[in-house]
Structures are given as C-alpha cells and as structure tokens.
C-alpha cells in the first residue's frame, strides 16, 4: 500500500502531507525533515527511488519527482510497483495541472482543501482507486458542483473576505 503522500517545497516547507499509516503527529515534522534532507542531497537526473527503511520502517521505498520548486513524494511498501508509483505521481501532477490550469506552488499553498479532494479521489486508505486524470478531474468538478449547490441553498458565508472574493 501507499504509506504516505508528501509535497515538499525546495525550501523544506511541507505543502501537502497525508499519511495512510498512523504516524504520531509529533513525528510528522521529523519525517518531513528527513525526507527533505534525503531528496535535497540527490543530484538531478538520477533515479527516482530511494530506500527509506530508516525513516518509514522496513521494506519501504519512496519515489519522488522534482518539478519546479516542489518535490512530489510517494512512500510505499512491497505491495506496490516502483514504476507504477512513478506513473501515479505523473497522474497526480497532471490532474493538478488540469484542475488549476498550469499549476504552480501558490495554487498548492492556497488550496488546501481542493488538494486533498483531488488526492482522495485518487487514493483511499493507501489503495489506488483511480488512475485516470480525466476521471479524477470529473469527480472533483462534480463534488464542487454539489457543494456549491449546497451552499447556494443554505450556506451564508460568515467570513468577510470570502464574501468579497465570491
């Protein structure tokens, strides 16, 4: 299964963290830090797999992709195929790109919820449930439509800024 999905900026700031195995919250920061140290030490154009037994337990590996200012990291165990995970990162990034129209780090910083919605359409409980970026995008749009519907009927925004930005 997939044990964790991380998006970490090249400034070592986490942009998205999702653990599918329980990790004590107080350990999260250490995990991010050690993964970042591992990745930032690797030069470009080398293989994308790293064994992370020392960080996530025996038999775990991570696959990462370095795109612009972000590292996309998937941590997985022996039940996943390395190259398939690499493809999955590609799917995730493609989906983000489609959802945000040329995704950049700021989109990811300011769309905490949407990012999770996209990820949840793709992976549930560490299992891949959808691998087509079109399908994921369609589902995400459907959810947004449903929620908008729900808000227009019954939701009065409380936040001033939200009211103004809408």
């Amino acid at each position: 299964m997939i044990q964790a999905v991380m998006v970490i900026s090249t400034q070592a700031k986490p942009r998205l963290l999702k653990f599918y195995n329980f990790q004590p919250p107080e350990k999260h920061q250490d995990l991010v830090r050690s993964v970042f140290q591992l990745l930032s030490a690797r030069p470009d154009s080398v293989s994308n797999f790293v064994k992370v037994d020392s960080i996530f337990g025996p038999g775990t590996k991570l696959v990462y992709k370095h795109l612009a200012t972000l590292y996309f990291v998937f941590v997985f165990d022996s039940s996943e195929n390395e190259l398939a995970m690499l493809d999955l990162i590609q799917v995730f990034v493609e989906t983000l790109d489609k959802c945000f129209k040329n995704v950049c780090e700021l989109d990811i910083v300011f769309n905490f919820n949407k990012l999770h919605t996209i990820l949840d359409e793709m992976i549930l409980g560490g299992q891949v449930i959808e691998t087509s970026s079109e399908q994921i995008m369609k589902s995400v749009e459907e959810i947004e439509r449903l929620e908008k519907q729900s808000s227009t009927t019954s939701f009065i925004p409380k936040s001033i800024t939200e009211r103004f930005t809408r």
């Binding site: 299964m1 080398v46 493809d87 910083v109 919820n113 891949v128």
Partner: protein
C-alpha cells in the same frame, strides 16, 4: 450535537465572527513573515483565535475554525490538543451542508489520533447513516465516499469496534463493486481481521470476478495488500482460480501488477501454481510494452519461479535490457535490483554482465552504485577475489567519500568473512589492506587495523609481508595526521613490535616509531608505539648480545666500531635463527643495525624522545615510557662499564642475561582467542555461580595479589622449535597449575578437552611451513580448486594455513554442550576418558565407544579405555608418517612429565587439519597406555580443570 439551524445571522456572536479570518487569510498571514519566529507567532495567534471560534454555536464559524486548525496541524505541525479538534469535527460530521460535512470528514481523517478514539464511537451512528443508500444518487455517493475516507483513515482503523459496527454497511457497497468500498474493506480487514473477515471476505472475493474492471482491479489490489509479507498468504490460495482468470484476461496493467504480486507470494506455497502461471507470465513479459508490468514480471519470475529455466533466462534478458538503458537511471537501477534477486544458481549469468555492472559503480546515482556494489560482492569467490577487490579499490579513488567507504567496508567484510576463507594469497591481502588504509577517504581504520592484527595472529606465512606493509605505513609521516588511520597505525606498530625479528631495518623502524609527528596520535596508540619500540630495542639487544657471546673475547673489537664483515653478519643470522634470513643478511651487509653505534644511536634516540614522556599525565603512556627508559638505563649502565673496559667478564654475562630475560618476555607466541571461549566452559556439578563469595575475600587478598615474576622465564618458543615441546615447558603455566592446585575448587571444569582458555591454538605451528601441505587435509580440496585459478602466479601458490578456532564455525553445534548426545562423539569420548574417574564417565564412554566403532571401522566395543584411545590416536596419525615419527619422539619426552606439558599443548581445529590436535591425542595415548591407569588420571583431572 444537533446541527445549527441555517440562520446564523441572528446569533449574538455575529460581531465576534464578523471578522473571522478565512483559511486564505491565515495562509497569507503565515506567509507575511517567513522567518521561523514570525511563523511561530502567527501560528500561536491563529491557534488562540481558533480555540475561541471553534466553540462558536454556529456551524459556519466552527467549520472555518476547524479548517484552519486542520491546516495548521497538518502543515505547520501545530501541537493541537486532540480533543477540541476531534470533537468539533465529529460534531460537524452531522451537518447537512455538504461543504461542512466535507471539511469535518477531512479534519477527522487527517487529524484523528488514537488518543481521541474514545470520541469515535460518537461518529459511528453518523457513519452508519452516511453509508446507507438513499435517494439522491450523486449527493449520496459523495457522502458515502467521505465516509469511506474516514473509515479507511489510519486512526479509525485503530478503533477496535468501528469495523464491527460498520462491516455490514460495507457489504452492500461491495456488492455494487465500488472501488472505494473495496479499498476501505481492505483496511478494515487489515485492522480487525477477526471481526471483519467473516463479514467482508466473501463479498470482497466476489469482486475479483466482477465484470467491472475497476472493481476487479481494486479487489486485486486489496488482496495484494492483505497478503503482504508480515501476513500469511496461505488463506488466499483458494482465490488462485479467480486471480488466474484475471491474469489471463485483464487488460489493466494495475490489475496485472497486483495479481502478479499475489502470485509471487502464493507460488512458493503451492508447487503446482508455478507451473500454471509461468506461461501467462512469460507471455506478458514478451508482450507488454509497459515497463512497470515488465519489471513486475521479471520480479515474479526471479523471486517465485526460479525453477523454470526458460522463464528465468527470459527475465534475465529483460533485466539486462533495463541495465543497458542509457537514458533512464530508473531502469538501470531496477535492472540491477532484479539481478540482485537471482539466487546463487545463476551467479555465472550475472558474471556475464560484470562489465556493465562495474560500469555502474561509477554512476552518478547512489542507488545504482549501491546496487552494483551489492551485485559485485555477490559474485566474489576465491578465484576472482583478487580481480574484483583490485577493481573495486581502483574505484575507491574515483568515488565520493561515502561510497568509497561503502566499497572498503564491503571488501573488508567479504574478504574477512569466515576467517578469510576467500583469501588464498595472504601477501596480496595484506598489501591490499595497506592500500585500503592509504586510500583518500578511508574511514574504515578500525576494521583494517583489526584484520591486520588478526591476520598476523592467524597466518604465520603472511607475517613477513605484514611487517613490510606495516613499515611502509609507519614511515609515512603524512598518515599520522589522519585520525581515521590511528587504529591502522596502532596495528602496524603492534605488528612491527611483535614480529620484529622479520624486520629488515630496526633502526629505521625505531626512527619511524619515534618520529616527531607521533605526538599527534591519541594516547592509546602512543602507548602501543612506545611498547613496540620496547620490543624492537629488546630484540636488537638480544641480537647484539648474542653476537658478543659468539665472538667471545673479541668483544673489544666489537666496541671499536668496526665495520661488520662477512662472518659477523653470518653470526647475526645464526643468532636470529628465524625466517627471512636472506633479507636480513642482505640488510646487515648494507648497514648493520646491530653494530654498537646503531644500538647506541637507538638508545640515544629513545632517551631524547621517550624521556620527556615519563612526565606525561596519561598513565598508559607514562607507564610504558617508564618501562622503556628504565630498561635503557639498565642496559646503558652495563655498557658504560664495558666502555670503560672494566669488563671483568661478569658484566657481559649480566647484560646477556638481562637482555635474554627481556627478550623471552616478548617471545611467547600470541594466538587468536575465541569470543566464545568462556561460554564453552561448563560449570562443574555443585557449583552455584550466583553464590555469594564474600567469605573468600580474605583468601583472595592473601594469595592472588602476589605478583608472579615467573613469567619472565618463559623460554623463547619461537626461536626454538624443538624446545617448545620439551617437558620443562613453562614455569608460567606450572605456576598457574600450582595455583590451580591450591584453588582447584574455583577453577571451572572444561566442557571439552580442547577448550582450555589458555590453550588456544598456537598461531604458528611448530612444524616448518614447508610441511603445511602435507598437514592440511580438509583444506586440500580447496587448494586443489585454486590451482585452476588461472594466470596469476599467486594462484598456484597453496593457501597458507589459517588458524581457526572451534567456535568460529562449529558455534551453533557446540553451543548446547550440556547435551551429551549432541556432542561430537570423538571429543566426548576423549573428555570422558581424560576426566573419567567416575562411573558416569564410564557409562557414557561406552556409548561413545559404539559411536566410534562405526566411525573408525574397528571393533572396540569390549576393549579397554586405553585401547580406545589408541584407536583415536592412530586414526589421525595415519595421515602423515613423517610427522608421526617426529611425534613419537616428542611423545616419549612428554610422557615423562605429562602434567606440565598439558597446559602448553597446542590445539588446532579439526577442519584446518592441525597437527596439534593429533599430538594431543598421541600424548594421551602414551600416557594411558604406558603408565598405570590411576596415576595419569589423577594428574589429568588437575590439568583439565581450567
């Protein structure tokens, strides 16, 4: 817990909440000051704000607060007390507004903590409601998706009763083949098998056969996850037909990968399965264009179908294609990884692509380098170890420090494995060790130093080369600045001191050991250096004095600093009386290190450099410096007398005696000691190890603290091959046996006769090295193979003898030594006879008699114990008639005084074909057959107590 009605505008908290910051505001404020302190302040402010807002009665305020809290706890690691978050989240789960509900589920699945599990039952009802099907299709689908999300989140799967309550709700979703439900069911089963399996396993298995490819893919993934290694894959064997169907019909690479993974785990459990799947797997392997699937096929074949040769060759071919992929480091890495999965049966195949693998050692990618190193170390055997180690060491210089040390560590581990079983040419290995120490980034000093000393102790033939290598290390002042090399230098200094008689130029050695930069060394190493100087100078004196004695009254001539002539150097050789005569002879002709002036020069050097160290505040150094300076003073005193020509004939002999005494101190051969020597000693009956020994304190202080000076009278065993076996062997050991006699009660009894702790194998055999070949029996096959090794002249050289201790390879079999039947019948019988004065020994001896009968093909069942021993003695002795005759002489000598010689008897390991073993048995045969039974037994018990 009821949701707030959708009219929050009238709430009194409007003024407060009017200015509530949204998540975006929060993110902006956090980004305003990117410094750590600024961020921490912003987080703290936001948290206090959230704590106020989250108690707000209206759902909207609460949900925004919850969202901010989830964000902070997830990405800013805010220490969120779990309860406020968990409670608000669970409260909002029930909200009829989809966005609120969504937020609540997200917050709950992100941040629920096992500590907040007590709250989770509160959510059970809501989850149940959200999972139940209702009218609004799209809306309901979304809601149940959220519920699955929470159900599969790590915290919820840790809640014991949640699966029990909700398993039935999952069943209907499984029946519809929802991938989410399948994934959630897998998590639920993994979290609580006992409760969930009866309910969920069958519906889940039914999904495998579902016509919907999404459902079957998800089900395959679920079973792949559930059968992952810590779990037992056996319960999944009944799924094989469905999985096989999927394997042959599915078009989805995801599904195929998962099915292959499950089959890789099932195939070892069911032999027929491998034959069934090998064809479809090979088809996929040749047909598939997806690299991920190809790699999975390779992995399946190499790990689960090793018996199918054609498939394995196909997979290896594909793996080699991966390795050859110049533009994709991922494929190269995975190709190497795949080859690493091959068993030893295909080692030759791996060998074929050695060049490609060796090239990968220089790859920019650490992963690829590591895998390549791992593969190469897997190929090493005694035929190619020289090539491979040479190639690897040449890579060390080109590698970054970390990988360089990985290489060095791997080479050291491989060559040192099982007492250097792969090393044939120890001269080569010793110089390799020295080369390794000199590589640029070497940080493996500890292991190199350890192996240098260890080789010295175990392999007599390697000592000349060791001393040469140690010299090159010691005379290089540059090495003294590298703190990683201190252990190596320490080992080199020890070797030069211990085997000083093999050195060519002791003067140079003393200079090297006392060079100014040695002040950079740590205390422990300096102490070793000074002690090595002590040994060197003692040896030089002994040679010098030996010459004085030889030239008799021509001593005056010696003092008149005459250049050494041919006869003198000849004399020195006689005095040396040990190996490397030619080398030393050559160097003595060139420059005599034992001339009066060389000795004087060395003494002066020692006094000027070591002299100040007697004030050193480190005891180790101070003590050794004191020893050395004290010795030098003693010698000098006598020499002063000589110089003033008041030699009354007494002084030289005093000098001679002194030097000889000192020399004998260092002559005792050192050998390796087994780590488990102590463990093998069985406590005697009736000894309670935990007993309080306080009452013995008086006795200890009375007797044991008197220092034993007798140690100074060890004979020079290394120099006199013949005297070593002579009866008057050592006063040291006889004083030990005296002590043993006095305090016999407190000595432990041996488990086996070969286990006496002070009786480890002598590192050098008393036989000359030329006879090694005749002695080696078990190693013979090994050396025979090595003749094939090929071009190198070194390979035709037979492997020198390596001292190996019992425990080093019979460890596991010997450990339960309390079990008599498990013991080697031979040694057991021996022990019984040697210790055997009581009835118990006799009975077990009968048993071992029978064992031996078959083994030796002799009928001895009703013969006496002395005959039994006779058999034992003659059995190994038949190996070499030459040594037997020699032994018989020895035996006769020993027979006169068996007790004293016992303690010194060298014992060798069986598998390395040792004469010592044989000698020991011989001796006992002599004892028991030539003397009345009772007397030797009594004395034997004494000696084998230790």
């Amino acid at each position: 817990m009821a949701s707030t009605p959708p009219a929050p505008a009238v709430a009194p908290s409007l003024v407060d909440t009017l200015f509530q910051r949204s998540l975006n505001d929060l993110v902006k404020s956090l980004r305003a000051d990117p410094s750590a302190a600024g961020e921490a302040a912003a987080v703290a402010r936001a948290l206090s704000e959230i704590h106020r807002e989250i108690r707000a009665p209206d759902a909207a305020t609460k949900s925004v607060a919850l969202q901010k809290l989830a964000y902070l706890s997830s990405l800013h690691f805010a220490p969120v007390g779990s309860h406020p978050l968990a409670f608000a989240a669970i409260e909002l789960l029930a909200s009829p507004h989809l966005p609120h509900k969504h937020l609540a589920y997200l917050a709950a699945s992100l941040s629920l903590h096992p500590a907040s599990l007590s709250l989770l039952p509160l959510a059970t009802h809501q989850l149940h409601k959200d999972l139940s099907p209702s009218a609004g299709a799209a809306h309901q689908q979304h809601v149940s998706a959220l519920a699955f999300q929470l159900l599969a989140s790590p915290a919820a799967t840790a809640a014991p009763d949640l699966p029990v309550h909700l398993a039935h709700d999952l069943v209907q979703h499984l029946a519809r083949g929802s991938p989410r439900a399948i994934a959630a069911a897998a998590r639920v089963i993994a979290a609580s098998p006992s409760a969930a399996v009866p309910v969920l396993f069958k519906p889940l298995a039914a999904c495998l056969a579902s016509p919907d490819p999404r459902a079957s893919t998800a089900a395959a993934a679920a079973f792949c996850d559930l059968s992952a290694p810590p779990a037992d894959a056996t319960p999944f064997l009944p799924l094989a037909p469905d999985l096989y169907n999927l394997l042959t019909t599915s078009r989805s690479n995801w599904a195929l990968i998962k099915v292959l993974k499950v089959f890789a785990r099932l195939a070892p459990l069911e032999p027929r399965l491998a034959a069934r799947i090998v064809d479809p797997v090979c088809q996929l392997l040749t047909r598939s264009s997806a690299m991920s699937l190809t790699f999975e096929c390779i992995r399946t074949v190499l790990t689960a179908l090793p018996a199918h040769d054609a498939a394995v060759r196909l997979a290896i071919g594909k793996a080699k294609e991966f390795i050859a992929a110049a533009d994709d480091p991922n494929l190269r890495y995975l190709g190497l990884l795949a080859l690493g999965m091959l068993g030893p049966a295909y080692a030759s195949t791996v060998n074929d692509c050695r060049d490609a693998i060796a090239k990968s050692l220089g790859d920019a990618d650490t992963n690829i380098r590591q895998e390549a190193l791992h593969l190469i170390m897997g190929m090493v055997n005694e035929n190619n170890v020289v090539d491979i180690a040479g190639m690897l060491i040449s890579h060390v210089a080109k590698s970054d420090p970390e990988f360089a040390n990985d290489i060095l560590g791997a080479v050291l581990a491989a060559c040192g494995h099982n007492v250097y079983e792969m090393v044939v040419d120890f001269d080569w290995y010793v110089s390799l060790l020295a080369d390794m120490a000199r590589t640029l980034h070497c940080a493996q000093g500890d292991e190199i130093g350890r192996q240098l000393v260890d080789v010295g102790l175990r392999v007599q033939d390697a000592r000349p080369e060791l001393v040469r290598s140690a010299r090159t290390l010691l005379i290089d002042p540059a090495l003294l600045g590298n703190h990683f090399l201190f252990p190596v230098l320490s080992a080199a200094a020890w070797i030069s001191g211990e085997y000083v008689d093999l050195t060519k130029d002791p003067v140079e050695l003393v200079e090297a050991l006392l060079q100014p930069r040695t002040s950079l060394l740590p205390i422990s190493v300096r102490a070793v250096y000074i002690h090595a100087v002590f040994k060197v100078i003692t040896w030089c004196f002994s040679v010098y004095v030996g010459r004085l004695g030889d030239s008799g009254m021509a001593m005056d001539v010696m003092f008149d600093r005459l250049a050494p002539d041919q006869t003198v150097s000849l004399d020195s050789n006689v005095a040396l009386g040990s190996g490397e005569e030619q080398d030393i002879g050559a160097s003595t002709v060139r420059k005599d290190p034992f001339s009066h002036e060389s000795i004087l020069y060395m003494i002066d050097l020692i006094q000027t450099t070591v002299g100040p160290l007697i004030n050193c505040n480190e005891v180790e150094v101070q003590e050794r410096a004191h020893n050395l300076i004290g010795f030098v003073h003693l010698v000098r005193e006598i020499q002063e007398l000589n110089k003033r020509k008041v030699a009354d004939g007494d002084e030289p002999s005093r000098l001679k005696e002194l030097v000889k005494t000192m020399r004998t101190v260092f002559c005792q051969e050192l050998g390796p000691v087994s780590v488990n020597a102590q463990m093998k000693v069985a406590p005697p009956d009736g000894l309670i190890l935990n007993e309080n020994l306080v009452e013995l304190a008086g006795m200890v202080s009375e007797d044991d603290t008197t220092p034993s000076t007798s140690i100074f009278f060890y004979p020079c065993s290394r120099h006199s091959v013949d005297t070593r076996d002579e009866p008057a062997v050592s006063i040291g050991s006889s004083s030990l046996s005296e002590h043993r006699k006095r305090h016999g009660l407190f000595y432990l009894q041996t488990g086996k006769t070969e286990d006496e702790p002070n009786d480890y194998p002598q590192a050098n055999d008393s036989l000359p090295s030329s006879s090694n070949n005749s002695v080696i029996n078990d190693d013979k096959s090994k050396t025979a193979e090595l003749v094939f090794a090929g071009k190198k002249s070194t390979a035709t050289k037979s492997r020198p003898k390596v001292v190996k201790l019992d425990t080093e390879d019979f460890l596991s079999s010997v450990m339960p030594s309390a079990n008599v039947p498990k013991e080697d019948p031979l040694s057991g019988a021996l022990r019984d006879v040697l210790l055997g004065s009581d009835a118990k020994a006799l009975s077990s001896q009968r048993a071992s008699d029978i064992n031996l009968e078959g083994m030796l093909n002799k009928t001895s069942s009703n013969e006496s114990s002395s005959h039994l021993i006779e058999n034992l003695g003659s059995y190994p002795a038949s190996r070499s008639s030459r040594t037997t005759s020699k032994q018989q002489n020895d035996d006769k000598e020993k027979g006169t005084n068996p007790r004293e010689s016992d303690g010194k008897e060298p014992r060798k390991h069986r598998s390395s074909g040792r004469s010592g073993h044989r000698q020991g048995k011989h001796k006992h045969r002599e004892k028991s057959s030539t003397q009345p039974d009772t007397i030797p037994q009594a004395s034997v018990i004494q000696d084998f107590l230790l």
